[in-house]
Symmetry: C2
Subunit: 513 residues, 2 copies
């Protein structure tokens, strides 16, 4: 125990963890950790653990301190049952964390993905005391058993309305890992711009991107996907279609319905041509080589069905026996779902595909229109992702509005397994790299806790608020530009104050000479 | 020339450089650079160059690309006359940059500080073509001769009203180097909080900081100062006094004038006690060990002179022959300037010290009250720093308002040498790490060009605007959350659009099924 100082004190350990673990028990011993000799060790080596140890060393111990004489050998050991488990939906993300009386720590997990969550939890237990210059953990022995409530805990970003350079996407992935989120839903293409390279059709980005600054090479995509994988985050690309595709039209007007060929109109793919689906299959196959996840999001929201109201398409509709644009939409949805299947991918659609079409039963439906739709979607046998009320571009929605929403509201118990989880959606109309993280945080943290923590431990916004304030201070310390707790989205602090002061200011009387 | 492709094309080289160099000549040859074999080489080794080569390698070549067969040996050679020159005011920051027809590049400079600016300029010349996947430089041969107009080109940050964690201060220093700024004026202490450790009086921060998240250890300060030094940026600390000191009062009420001892009042040091100056000398001496710069800013703005309107101080004033609070202020200013001298530091004061007192003639006066004061300050023989109109917390001031201001307006030629330069001031009332960089950029870039570029090359805001838009896109690509060009401070983009679109949005008609 050389070099380790143990003291008894009233414990506050684990009261500030975010998201809140399922089970925490603790004592009241405090142990000083020596940053100069603290060791991270994996029972079985894995690149994800090596890289995480490097990251968390500076997160555990952010301040330089003087060397401690006679350093102890306190160790954090990560014991993973199978380090080769593929990152995928429904993967085991559980972990058990034990901090013993001497500070030695064991994180036991079935997969590296669970172990990474254990490291994050441990990092939130380490305190620095500015008076003594010492790091410590309190409340020993600590025993935590934890696992996520939902398998799909995501954030949508929209790189079509404003481009997000690679460095910003990576920073966002870092911050997501702090909240134990595990899905980046990357809405890549939009009416306004087409930022991703394609080997099948390079002109898509050449003509469709905003500028030479605002494109991703396929190597960039691989780089982001690897960065995410190291942090246990799956990347699900979205190529929105048949609407929200005007930027594709700049290079491929031949694929578009003749009703919407002018620059100012929102375009829609023309389902009357096999060429359209041949092209989509070719580009999606190309992109599937850089997006390994089993899921592919093919949008299908806000379809401008009026585009199909032209003589050619109307004639084709007649031969197909279609009576309206909903029939055309249903045809389109099923054809692209079929392409997805050929690429060994399962398809996610926005809820219009459920409302106005009949997608295959293995599709996942993402709900945004109306919370009551969730019940209809799962009652119809589809798996569902909840995003209703979790639109981060709704700046007036504060964290507590988002916190109290629950993906399983009104869902019957026998259908609950069809609710995969949810996503906060950061639509890009008024966010670009300048205000992206500022707008996302800390409200995304509220969503993250709802998706991770068991309903039995998330009591109320009043219980959550002081923990969220601490989490926000941690985000700032780690370099994440999180907004204040309690303000609207993207709310600047109203006056001088601490990172813990939500909306309140600390000021003194102003009197000058 | 193996592996290098040269083509002739209409050159646009160097038209987008920010800040604009003094002299640019160029031809019309384009050369492809091979990121896999491009070499950075220093004729004489220096740690600042080694670290800069590492940084700029990823700034020159941000996208991964396939290996090029038969790689060439294109080299960038940095030739510095004296790599040991100390970073200080008036240090030579000039450089000459030559990019030859084969792409080989020489940066010649008298000091590493000049060479670093040359590397930044070169980084702005490298383009990536998404269609070909190639990096290139155009307009060869390029010849640039450059040096700053002013020696003091700074940014003030205010860590007393909101704490800025080390990682954010470092990110800010990175971004400053892109605009060739060379002074971080670190306003550390304020009425509201006291975030910096002291070995002389640890209780200053223990009692004065907002929270346990919001303090700097002295090791943190050294870390920041080293990070800045590697980038050619001097760090000048400000310990504002005798006012703006209420946070000191929490641990040391005995040093405060009796007129202002209540929590709600702004405090002022008591100049009637030698104890006050003994204490200030001891703490400033301690801090001088971590702030090596020759300048020390001792504030002296907005003094609550009413604090001295109490019986003890009034009695003391009588014995000193002082008739009013201005006399007391003058006495205070000269005593702390004397402490500064004993610590081998020159003192900077806000312009109240010039208006209401008579500081020693070697003091530097920072102008903020009124632009016309600049002339009075230098005519009185003081050196001056200009900040009037460059308050970044003034959100309605757009970049072009700041761009047209000039520190030497109405200054006579024989006094121009007394104008050291200027600073953008990011006061911290409504900025914390969430919106700090977002509020600072791109407006600080306008100030940076004014301070770096010769008046003969900075023609107009119309000429500057497209260059500033490109610089903003570069900031975003490098991870800096810069706001849009043309908006107010901290202006979110008003709608979908490119990084080059200031205030304008690109949108299409909205029509849904």
């Amino acid at each position: 125990m050389l070099g380790i100082f143990i003291s008894l004190l009233l414990s506050t350990t684990a009261t500030a963890l975010w998201p809140k673990p399922r089970l925490v028990t603790n004592g009241n011993v405090r142990v000083v950790l020596n940053p100069h000799s603290y060791g991270f060790k994996a029972v079985t080596q894995a690149i994800q653990l090596d890289e995480a140890f490097n990251r968390y060393k500076s997160i555990f111990f952010p301040h330089a301190t003087d060397p401690v004489p006679n350093p102890s050998d306190t160790e954090l050991v990560v014991d993973v049952l199978d380090v080769t488990t593929t990152l995928a939906m429904d993967v085991d993300e559980s972990y058990v964390l034990d901090v013993h009386l001497d500070g030695s720590t064991i994180i036991a997990a079935k997969t590296v993905w669970g172990a990474l969550h254990g490291l994050e939890t441990m990092s939130q237990l380490v305190d620095f005391n500015f008076t003594t210059g010492q790091y410590s953990v309190s409340g020993l022995p600590v025993h935590i058993e934890d696992r996520p409530r939902f398998t799909h805990r995501g954030l949508l970003i929209d790189s079509g309305r404003h481009f997000e350079p690679v460095v910003h996407v990576k920073a966002l992935l870092d911050s997501m890992s702090f909240a134990k989120l595990n899905v980046l839903h990357w809405h890549l293409t939009e009416d306004q711009s087409f930022p991703i390279a394609s080997r099948v059709s390079p002109e898509l980005a050449t003509k469709g991107a905003y500028s030479n600054f605002e494109q991703y090479t396929l190597a960039d995509i691989k780089d982001v996907v690897h960065h995410a994988w190291l942090r246990g985050i799956r990347v699900i690309p979205e190529f929105d279609m048949p609407g929200h595709t005007s930027s594709w039209r700049k290079s491929h007007p031949e694929l578009f319905a003749e009703g919407c060929l002018t620059e100012s109109s929102r375009g829609a793919f023309d389902p009357a041509k096999n060429q359209t689906f041949d092209f989509l299959e070719a580009v999606l196959k190309d992109w599937s080589s850089v997006f390994p996840d089993m899921f592919l999001h093919l949008g299908s929201d806000e379809v401008p069905g009026n585009c199909w109201n032209n003589s050619k398409d109307l004639a084709w509709m007649k031969t197909m026996g279609f009576s309206n644009s909903s029939d055309v939409f249903d045809y389109f949805v099923n054809r692209i779902a079929n392409i997805s299947s050929k690429l060994n991918r399962q398809t996610t659609f926005w809820d219009e595909a459920f409302l106005s079409a009949k997608p295959p039963k293995d599709a996942v439906i993402q709900n945004w229109h109306d919370a009551s739709l969730m019940k209809q979607i799962v009652d119809a046998g589809y798996r569902a992702i909840y995003s209703n009320g979790w639109y981060l571009d709704g700046l007036s929605s504060t964290w507590d509005h988002m916190y109290v929403l629950d993906p399983t509201t009104n869902i019957s118990a026998d259908k609950a397994h069809l609710v995969l989880g949810g996503e906060g959606c950061m639509w890009g109309e008024t966010v670009d790299p300048s205000d992206l993280e500022f707008t996302i945080w800390p409200r995304l943290a509220a969503i993250a806790e709802r998706l991770w923590s068991d309903a039995s431990v998330t009591k109320s916004t009043a219980e959550a608020e002081p923990r969220l304030e601490v989490f926000r201070c941690q985000l700032l310390t780690r370099g994440v530009p999180s907004g204040v707790v309690g303000g609207p989205g993207r709310g600047s602090p109203p006056g001088p104050g601490s990172c813990t002061q939500h909306g309140k200011t600390q000021d003194v009387e102003e009197m000058f000479v």
